[in-house]
Amino acid sequence: MAEFSTSVTDKGEVSTIFLKGFLDAHTAPMLENTFSGLIDKNRYSIVVNFKDLAYISSAGLGVFMAFIEIVRDNKGDIKLAAMTDKVYNIFDLLGFPLLYDIFKSEEEAINKFNETKNLES
């Protein structure tokens, strides 16, 4: 069975989800649960760190589509970071860069949230 795990770290108002392993139709529900857990706690500023994600199929991509609306409706965002070329290519093929902010590093993604917050205050 494919290995997949998520873990969450909170830094201020931003929560980072770390993905590890293989994200497919079997493991996508685990990521759905992670997003649901953050939304239950009203944490809508979410960075996803893809550094250790080895594989993604459209079932995995569907999770990001499923949660983006509720997150943005609550003035948050899902920002994607640290993808390998292999994983980025699949996101790119499906047009995700049009709708999601994708950053080279987790720090850049977190800084973007903080910049936006500073502009608003």
Binding site: D24, H26, Y55, S57, S58, G62, M65, A66, I90, L99
Partner: protein, 150 residues
């Protein structure tokens, strides 16, 4: 446990319609594509296309019934590597499913349905054969170039 349920030979894998089996399907295709001489990048694309086809079978043809059979058969002829994937679940008419307008698709936050687009994009040929009530076969093909790799 899996060895009892699943039939595996060099060119054939018969496996139950469960998402937990997707990783075994990917491993089977990975070895086959590497043996056929494809590069790592092309092998990754073939693996993803087959995963998408099998995920569609599990979700749509068998509608998550866990004991349906998925039969993967490998065929290599001259310059073409083909994976035939057969199920005995519900038939569908691929012609009725248009290529998605991706921008619109994403704007509408539609979940799923992108698998077929990926299959068509990642492979050189995708063919469907369906006899309702009997079987459905999707054939995914990739050309092998003159020096045996691509």
């Amino acid at each position: 446990m899996k060895a009892e349920k699943n039939i595996l030979t060099r060119n054939k894998l018969v496996i139950k319609s469960r998402t937990e089996n997707l990783s075994e399907i990917r491993d089977f295709i990975s070895s086959a594509a590497v043996n056929a001489g494809f590069t790592k990048e092309t092998t990754d694309n073939i693996i993803l296309a087959v995963d998408e086809a099998c995920t569609n079978i599990i979700k749509h043809a068998y509608q998550y019934i866990p004991d349906g059979e998925i039969i993967l058969t490998l065929k290599t002829a001259e310059n073409i590597f083909t994976i035939e994937i057969t199920d005995h679940g519900k038939s569908f008419e691929p012609g009725l499913i248009p290529n998605p307008d991706l921008k619109k698709y994403l704007d509408q936050r539609r979940v799923g349905g992108l698998g077929m687009y990926l299959m068509k994009t990642l492979m050189d040929e995708v063919k469907y054969e369906s006899v309702p009530g009997k079987f459905n076969t999707v054939s995914l093909s990739k050309f092998i170039n003159a020096n045996g790799s691509k």
